[in-house]
């Protein structure tokens, strides 16, 4: 059974926030401007983003409501009645509630009846896991269609007050790094077992991922304080104590980050060797990568070996819409499809390398219709 992406949607909360305005939304930590902000922004290249919190750091829309809005936007542009949706597959790094699963909250917000439900939890690649589950469900003919939604509201972790709770240590680079990297938003894809009657559809040829958590330490995390090897957030006697220890900060071990390039390229070369992809037959690349990585020597070697893909084929909207974690790849696909005149037969290669504990997901799509 073939599976097609027949509609896409997105929701970005509030107005676009430029680099100068970030701290007026997230707040100044201990009343001081960040010394790292400019350096990190220069390196990630992001120019504007959206936040689901206001300048008082109050939440303006919940994560599940953002997801529902992206889902509605996607359904609105499709031929399918909401009542006909058979599966809902959702992803986020952190729902509004710890429990139940994010998908339950999104289903309720969308008022979808009796769907088969799936929630995938993780960081950037969790949307690809949610998508793969939905793709397989249709492939094995358990469902005729599936709505897949990925949504993130990480700004709540970046409020100045979060950092100010931490006692006995200054905010280090690793704890501050993602504050200038991540922002909020949601993206949605509608999958069906037949192409849409008019316009273009994207056939999903395959989705594959390779995880290397057994090889590398944790690189991006919430739940463990700096220099702590055993104890995680629920092991403290109170949540307050965990927060004071810095166990609830979103951290990135920047030193490990370079491994993502090797891991991403290793997977790409493996897919070429297995005959799943031919770099010369890719028309468009959508990659959840920061462009600074392309200066890496590994990419030079790829180019020499003829396995690189010409720069003009790469598309990203990370710089304008922000890095919205797992939602990014869907938000990227949505904008790409809506701003390009795609021709039948063109191919798209999508790549989501996740630095959490090094999982790289890849997808191959072909334009039909």
């Amino acid at each position: 059974m073939q599976v097609y992406i027949n509609s896409t949607g997105r929701y970005l909360p509030g107005k676009a926030v430029n680099n100068e305005e970030i701290e007026s939304v997230l707040g100044l930590i201990h009343g001081k401007k960040s010394r790292l902000k400019r350096k990190i922004l220069n390196s990630n290249g992001i120019l504007q983003r959206h936040y689901a919190i206001n300048d008082q750091q109050q939440t303006t829309i919940s994560n599940s409501d953002m997801a529902a809005n992206a889902g509605m936007n996607c359904i609105d542009e499709s031929y399918l009645a909401p009542a006909k949706i058979q599966m809902l597959s959702c992803a986020t790094s952190q729902g509004d509630m710890v429990l139940p699963g994010f998908g339950s909250m999104v289903q309720a917000a969308l008022n979808l009846s009796e769907v088969e439900l799936h929630t995938s939890h993780g960081i950037c690649s969790s949307s690809m896991m949610a998508l793969k589950t939905a793709f397989n469900n249709i492939r094995c003919q358990d469902s005729d269609n599936a709505l897949v939604i990925a949504s993130e509201l990480t700004s709540r972790l970046f409020k100045h007050s979060r950092y100010e709770q931490v006692t006995d240590q200054a905010v280090d680079f690793n704890a501050e790094f993602l504050r200038w990297m991540l922002s909020d938003g949601a993206g949605a894809l509608l999958l069906e077992n037949q192409p849409r009657p008019t316009g273009r559809s994207l056939r999903i040829d395959w989705i594959k991922s390779f995880s290397h958590a057994n090889v590398f330490p944790v690189c991006m995390s919430v739940g463990q304080s700096k220099d702590e090897e055993q104890k995680t957030w629920q092991d403290y006697s109170s949540y307050g104590e965990a927060e004071q220890a810095g166990a609830l900060l979103l951290r990135q071990d920047v030193r490990l980050l370079d491994n993502i390039v090797a891991v991403g390229v290793q997977g790409f070369l493996k897919l070429i060797a297995q005959g799943h992809v031919d770099p010369h037959k890719i028309d468009h690349v959508l990659c959840h990568f920061s462009s600074k990585y392309f200066k890496n020597k590994i990419f030079e070697m790829l180019e020499v070996s003829g396995a690189s893909i010409a720069e003009e084929k790469w598309y990203t909207n990370l710089y304008q819409r922000g890095n919205t974690g797992c939602a990014s790849i869907f938000i990227m696909l949505d904008e790409f499809i809506k701003t390009h005149e795609l021709k039948a037969g063109e191919t798209l290669f999508c790549m989501v390398p996740e630095s959490g504990r090094f999982n790289c997901a890849y997808m191959h799509l072909t334009v039909v219709g």
Binding site: P217, A262, V263, L269, M301, V304, S305, A307
Partner: protein
């Protein structure tokens, strides 16, 4: 970068070599002593032990490269020249390594008297065997892995080691040395690949040797903890 013209076969060879390298890179990241090194949990005894084990293969390294050079006949005189200059450059590497060992507090007689570990035996045996074959072009695959390791030592391991220990004199001269002239070495390897990857069979031979060398090098590193 601009003057590199790899042939189609050369490109496919390089692509496969890159894949072998990344697979090897992932595999050695899981070797316990390398895990400790890369995650900042190496003891000075660990580092001494690593140097002591590496030295036994490094000192033999110059032998297989020299043997390899002499196995190229007149048809490959140009390749022979490249390999000879490679051998000249590296045949005294072990002295730098020994200095590092002494700088960490080790004694010269200990490192000189140590024998090869099981992995080093296998690696050296394989390399000498291949180097003794007529026109052993497949050894480009071995050079690729060893060059890659040199780069990894210089760019990553040396930094990690220096973060953990501080001695009066450098203890990472051997690892740092392999980062010098990196770009030239890479260019020379590209040229060699273009020169010898002239048929699909040749490419297969090169890849196979790269894989064997990678696996045996991994074994050599695994055996460091078993000394």
């Amino acid at each position: 970068m601009d003057n590199i013209v790899l042939t189609k076969l050369g490109q496919s060879c390089l692509q496969s070599l890159l894949k072998v390298w990344f697979d090897f890179d992932l595999a050695i990241t899981q070797v316990p002593i390398i895990k400790r090194l890369e995650q900042g949990r190496l003891s000075i005894e660990d580092y001494q032990s690593l140097l002591l084990n590496l030295r036994q293969q490094v000192i033999e390294g110059s032998r297989w490269i020299s043997r390899c050079a002499s196995s190229f006949d007149r048809e490959y005189a140009d390749v022979r020249s490249t390999v000879i200059s490679h051998a000249t450059e590296e045949h005294r590497d072990y002295l730098i390594l020994e200095n590092d060992y002494v700088a960490t507090g080790g004694t010269l007689t200990d490192i000189q008297a140590a024998s090869k570990n099981i992995g080093s035996e296998a690696l050296h045996g394989f390399l000498m065997y291949r180097a003794s074959q007529p026109n052993p072009v497949d050894l480009i695959g071995a050079m690729w892995i060893i060059e890659g390791l040199g780069n990894k030592m210089a760019s990553k391991w040396s930094q990690r080691i220096n973060e953990q220990f501080s001695f009066e004199n450098t203890i990472t001269a051997f690892m740092d040395y392999h980062g010098e002239n990196d770009e030239n070495h890479l260019q020379a390897l590209y040229r060699l690949i273009d020169r010898v990857a002239t048929s699909p069979e040749r490419v297969n031979d090169i890849i196979r040797t790269a894989k064997v060398v990678a696996k045996l090098y991994q074994l050599q590193l695994e055996e460091v903890d078993n000394g």
